[in-house]
């Protein structure tokens, strides 16, 4: 998984635009005119042109999110959006390991991926 920031724009399937929230680094996805932390709320496209537009809008919004790039997703039969590779699974759900004991404050929507 070479850093997506260095990849040329190539669309092989459904994609979203993702970034990190400026203030706290939380993973966010580009939705309709804004950002969401929920992958299900992201704008999904199979069109390179649309992806390019989403990316341009994302990059223009440097006040709220940084390091935007195009990331692959999978869309399930019932229309749910899932991360498209291991890197995006980890960004979406958090580290695949248990955080050290006594680390109490695990976010509710961070379910470890095994």
């Amino acid at each position: 998984m070479t850093s997506p920031l260095q990849q040329k724009l190539k669309i092989n399937g459904p994609v979203v635009v993702t970034a990190n929230r400026l203030a706290d680094g939380v993973v966010v996805y580009r939705g309709e005119g804004g950002w969401t932390t929920k992958l299900d709320g992201a704008a999904v496209t199979t069109s390179a042109a649309v992806a390019q537009e989403l990316l341009a809008a994302a990059k223009a919004d440097g006040l709220h999110a940084v390091d935007a790039y195009v990331a692959p997703v999978q869309v399930t039969e019932d229309g749910r959006v899932r991360p498209g590779n291991l890197r995006e699974r980890i960004r979406s759900s958090g580290p695949t390991i248990d955080l050290p004991l006594h680390a109490l404050r695990v976010k509710a929507d961070h379910v470890p991926v095994r």
């Binding site: 850093s3 400026l22 680094g25 006040l63 291991l86 580290p95 390991i97 680390a103």
Partner: protein, 552 residues
């Protein structure tokens, strides 16, 4: 223990105020990300997969109890209750918020800590032996020299925009515990024929995409000349290092392409012109810096107090721990205690805030208030009286840092890998965790003996996989995680790069492969006490390769 003076405190305080202003202007939009990024990097602030990461410098791996308590506070207040000790004796926090960073940095500044020069194309944390000033085989405290160099290169305008990062290590013991020879520059203290102490200077070590062991370019450098010579090396690098290709920009490439001799000549020419100038160190300057290091007022104690022997006799677990984690101290009656941060199923190098607080208290009570961080991602209490070992052990055991696996197969060095790091291709921590489960049996681990496993999640090699006895490198093939296995690497004074044993193996098989390698070693060793690394050297990797790939 180095004591900050007024200048140090002012500098760190001003840095925090400056960064607070920069963060405010970034959050308001006055600064773009392109403008802000180099500024945050200069304070050790990275953006990783899930959050910002803050890397705090721990100069030569030495911490006071007050500093460790502050690290605990930062973990608790600004992060998720834990910190990660790195292979460069630093600490990292993986869940930091940008908007809270100035406050975190202000808290750290109150105990003289900061993230300056932990990122960017500057001289990074200068590392040394975690047993500095207490190791019996040491000539003189190497930290004094690390501090001399640190003061000079910090915020040095000429060396703030080098072709790439620059990592320096200083050593002073015959046995190299600081992996000197994989650094851009290393200084190894020696005594010459006339009884004077000076430094062998080695340059051009480094791992990553193209790994090299450092070459000696100056067999004996007098103390007076340390700063001017270091300056000459940095200047030569700054002048000739490549800036056109990030993969060829480290000094190791320059030394390799010029040849060590030609490189040494360039340095010599530069050095001759500056060696008698203002950088020449007089005894007063050295003594002044040395005087800011405080050493314990050791009590006059006897070695092997009877209460220690009695405790060893009556408690098998305590006895095993002493045999594994306690090392000889240069002062009679004292000992060096290593705290294993490698529990079964744990993340190598991670420590919770609660553990940090207990360790700080133990340091105050039993180690003259001092803690050390090793590049192998363990901690040490450097000044423990032997008669206090039973009490220290009970307290360490209660918080889970007394597993007697130091230097054994489960004492794994691993980078954070794809679970955290945006550079990674594959995960490293779960690989380490599974290996610790397979080898949880301490009798087995002891039978295998000293065995260093190093795991990196990408070619940047932060886990130092090239110099592991068993090196494991994560790569990505068609969206899946695979791991290359090397054998026979060494990081010490006999530094060697490991040899690849065959095609990369999938994630699910790595722990099986390590078991096969361990089994092969037991069959191949000439006698039970032939070390793993010596067996590999004697037999070569072929018998191991056969064993691993026979069924795959």
């Amino acid at each position: 223990m180095y004591l900050y003076d007024e200048l140090d405190r002012t500098l760190v305080g001003e840095r925090v105020a400056e960064f607070r202003g920069q963060v405010a202007r970034r959050l308001s939009g006055e600064l773009t990300e392109d403008e802000f990024k180099p500024l945050r990097l200069m304070n050790g602030v990275y953006l990783q997969l899930h959050a910002y990461m803050l890397r705090i410098s721990i100069p030569y791996g030495t911490l006071s109890s007050a500093q460790l308590r502050m690290l605990a506070h930062v973990a608790r207040r600004y992060d998720r209750g834990y910190g990660h000790f790195t292979t460069r004796q630093n600490i990292q926090y993986h869940w930091i918020k940008l908007e809270e960073l100035p406050d975190a940095m202000a808290d750290l500044a109150s105990v003289g800590m900061h993230g300056m020069q932990t990122s960017g194309n500057v001289v990074r944390n200068i590392t040394t032996d975690q047993w500095a000033s207490v190791a019996p085989d040491e000539i003189e405290d190497p930290r004094i020299w690390a501090e001399v160099i640190r003061q000079h290169v910090t915020l040095h305008p000429e060396f703030s925009f080098m072709p790439r990062k620059f990592k320096i290590a200083v050593g002073s013991s015959r046995h190299d515990r600081a992996a000197l020879r994989i650094h851009d520059m290393a200084l190894q203290m020696h005594r010459n024929g006339a009884g004077e102490t000076g430094f062998e200077v080695m340059v051009g070590g480094g791992l990553g995409r193209t790994a090299f062991i450092a070459k000696t370019i100056k067999p004996f450098l007098h103390k007076r000349d340390v700063l001017s010579y270091v300056e000459a090396v940095l200047r030569t690098y700054n002048q000739f290092g490549r800036r056109d290709n990030i993969y060829k920009a480290r000094i190791k490439i320059l030394v390799h392409e010029l040849g060590a001799e030609a490189f040494a000549k360039e340095v010599e020419t530069e050095w001759q012109s500056i060696k008698d100038g203002p950088l020449a160190l007089d005894e007063e300057v050295i003594a002044d810096i040395a005087s800011r290091f405080r050493y314990p007022a050791y009590a006059r104690l006897d070695d092997s107090p009877p209460e220690l022997a009695e405790a060893r006799r009556s408690d098998r677990r305590f006895d095993a721990w002493v045999g594994n984690s306690v090392a000889k101290h240069k002062v009679p009656g004292y000992a060096i205690v290593t705290l294993s941060l490698k529990p079964e199923g744990g993340t190598p190098g991670d420590v919770t805030a609660e553990q940090m607080d207990v360790i700080a208290d133990l340091a105050d009570r039993y180690s003259f208030g001092e803690i050390r961080v090793g590049h192998e991602q363990n901690l040490a209490l450097p000044h423990v009286a032997q008669r206090d070992l039973p009490a220290v052990w009970r307290a360490l055991d209660a918080i889970g840092v007394a597993i007697p696996n130091v230097n054994l197969i489960t004492d794994i060095i691993a980078c954070p890998g794809l679970d955290y790091c945006s550079l990674a291709n594959a995960r490293s921590i779960p690989i380490a965790q599974e290996i610790t489960r397979r080898f949880r049996n301490l009798d087995l681990a002891r039978d295998l003996g000293r065995l260093h496993i190093n795991i990196s999640g990408c070619i940047n090699a932060c886990g130092h996989h090239h110099v592991g006895h068993i090196g494991i490198l994560g790569v990505e093939k068609n969206g899946e995680e695979f791991y290359q296995i090397t054998l026979g690497g060494k990081a010490d004074e006999h530094a060697t790069l490991g040899t690849l044993i065959g095609p990369a193996v999938p994630y699910a098989q790595v722990a099986d492969v390590v078991e096969d390698i361990a089994a092969a070693y037991i069959e191949l060793r000439e006698r039970p006490d032939e070390l793993f690394i010596d067996t590999v050297k004697r037999t070569g990797v072929e018998p191991f390769r056969e064993r691993v790939y026979a069924a795959r």
